[in-house]
């Protein structure tokens, strides 16, 4: 998959996962992997720079909690992150709709029998 397309998509996917409630890095990676049926075969470690970038952009905020004797960093969406997720969703749906429209027309054209 094109890396530029993948970069924008991964951020949107992470925001979507975080939007469902406070979560942490490993959970986010597992959720994305399970929901995409392993389509995004990314290194799990590459999620963390993206998460920290979203945190720097104030789209998510973090907090540390003690879990099973370990410190765990949780992420949750900010109001700015919610707006950004909505915008990215609309943008992606428009993009996918456009792509689907083109691909759908081509498929329909071939399905119509020629008289």
């Amino acid at each position: 998959m094109d890396s530029r397309l993948l970069s924008g998509a991964v951020e949107m996917l992470m925001l979507e996962v975080i939007s469902h409630g406070r979560t942490y890095g490993y959970e986010i990676s597992q959720t994305v992997d399970s929901r995409s049926n392993g389509y995004f075969s990314l290194k799990e470690g590459s999620l963390y720079p993206a998460l920290h970038r979203l945190e720097t952009q104030k789209l998510v905020k973090s907090s540390w909690h003690e879990v099973e004797g370990r410190r765990r960093k949780y992420y949750e969406l900010t109001s700015a992150g919610i707006k950004a997720l909505d915008a990215k969703k609309q943008e992606w749906q428009a993009f996918a709709s456009g792509i689907q429209g083109v691909l759908g027309e081509g498929h329909s054209a071939t399905a119509i029998p020629a008289f």
Binding site: G25, Y26, G45, P49, H52, R53, T56, R70, R72, K73
Partner: protein, 451 residues
């Protein structure tokens, strides 16, 4: 599985501006992920822990590299700010260094320029001091006369290396100059030359001087020069060694009216040398008083005789001592012409003939001479017609005959002395004949106002 120390092996050294919990947060987050992954791997996949760890790390990637990325991500703004600050500081230092270098270079150039200017000023001062200082110490100088210079005059004959001319007299006169006090008054001082041709004029103040030298032939030349402060001066003058060549001259008067009464008023003419000769680049002006040469004074007077007289002067051997005109020579009438019987020897050259009228008085003792014009001196008895002068040239090597044609105006004045003033007031010209002089039958003439 990696521990915290191993994860941080690729992190940069600890920075002062780094948050204290940054490294620990990065390590804790990565270790939590790896622990979760290992737990899940063991639960789902089973197997030994080592292979589970290997699979977890395989899916995660290199934790050290992830930790390094996260650290730089967190410190990026501070690092860039610091780099910008350092860069700005370095740039400022470079600019300052360049400015300091330029200022130093300019200062160096200014110092060089100042040094050159100072050197030039010093050289100029040395020159000025050299001009002010005397070239040689003056022995006679003393503290009481600190500004005086020694003036000497050296006179040689014909050339610079010629024999000394000791028979000359010289007159030194300081010319008054603006801004200079003339302590020796600008008065002329006469000096005589010693046998070596030297005249010591003594100490004098600086200024512009004029030296007039009279040779043994009574020729004059003037030399001017400037004596600066504390600088002695030796003025070298080259004088002529020989007299101008002598030539012969006779005088005659043509067409003298018969009714002209010259018993009480006579016509006089005297010769003045006008020429000069150049010796060693200097012009020597003749005075008309050469030694052993009596300049003729033409006198047309009693009984229409043309006589030759000489001007009275102390140096003349015919001077009687009482300011009278001495008439040493008779004139004869030759073929109805009045011609001087004497051939006069005078130096060749250019002359000016000056005419005048003089009252005549017969000598009580008739020796056939005119013994004076009035007995009271020429200034009171002679009226020189200064504007009726002519110039002519007496050529050397032949007999020069000067012919005078008496104009009617002069004749009229001689007949009636009251006409002298009348002619003068009306500006009538009195001419003394016309033509030139030369060969054996020259003539003198002139024109102009009466007085």
């Amino acid at each position: 599985m990696m521990d915290a120390r191993e994860i941080t092996t690729r992190l940069p050294p600890l920075r002062e501006d780094e948050p204290t919990s940054l490294r620990q947060d990065i390590v804790d987050e990565i270790l939590d992920h790896l622990q979760c992954g290992l737990r899940r791997e063991l639960l789902i996949q089973g197997g030994d822990e080592a292979s589970a760890k290997e699979r977890v790390l395989s899916r995660f990637g290199d934790p050290r590299e992830i930790a390094r990325k996260l650290w730089f991500q967190a410190m990026w703004s501070k690092i860039m700010s610091q780099r910008i600050a350092v860069g700005s500081a370095l740039f400022s230092m470079v600019v300052c260094a360049v400015l300091v270098g330029m200022m130093g270079w300019m200062l160096h150039q200014q110092q060089l320029s100042a040094a050159l200017q100072q050197k030039a000023n010093a050289e100029l001062m040395e020159r000025i001091v050299g001009l002010i200082k005397p070239a040689q110490p003056v022995e006679t100088s003393s503290d009481s006369e600190p500004q005086k210079s020694h003036l000497q005059v050296k006179v040689t004959i014909d050339t610079q290396d010629g024999p000394p001319a000791s028979r000359c007299t010289l007159t030194v006169k300081k010319q008054p100059e603006l801004g200079w006090p003339v302590s020796n008054g600008g008065d002329a001082q006469q000096f005589t030359l010693d046998p070596s041709g030297m005249a010591d004029c003594g100490l004098t103040e600086p200024g512009r001087f004029e030296v007039t030298i009279r040779t043994q032939f009574n020729e004059l030349a003037t030399s001017t020069f400037t004596i600066p402060y504390h600088q002695d001066h030796l003025e070298h003058v080259v004088v002529p060694g020989k007299m101008p060549e002598l030539t012969k001259v006779v005088f005659r008067v043509d067409d003298l009216p018969d009714d002209l009464d010259l018993s009480s008023l006579g016509l006089v003419m005297r010769l003045r040398p006008r020429g000069s000769r150049t010796v060693a680049g200097r012009a020597w002006r003749a005075t008309g008083r050469w030694p052993d040469v009596s300049m003729p004074l033409l006198l047309l007077g009693k009984d229409k005789n043309l006589t030759i007289a000489v001007e009275p002067e102390s140096s003349s051997p015919t001077y009687s001592g009482n300011d009278r005109w001495i008439v040493p020579i008779d004139d004869v009438i030759r073929h109805g012409k009045w011609v001087s019987s004497e051939e006069w020897l005078v130096p060749a050259g250019e002359y000016e003939a000056q005419f005048g009228l003089a009252k005549l008085k017969p000598d009580p003792v008739d020796y056939g001479y005119w013994n004076g014009l009035d007995g009271t001196g020429r200034t009171s008895t002679s009226v020189w017609l200064r504007k009726n002068s002519v110039t002519f040239n007496l050529e050397s090597g032949k007999l020069n005959e000067l012919t005078i044609q008496l104009p009617d105006h002069v004749s009229m004045c001689i007949r009636d002395q009251s006409k002298i003033r009348e002619v003068s007031e009306h500006g009538s010209a009195v001419s003394m004949g016309g033509g030139g002089m030369g060969g054996g039958a020259g003539s003198l003439g002139g024109g102009g106002g009466f007085f």
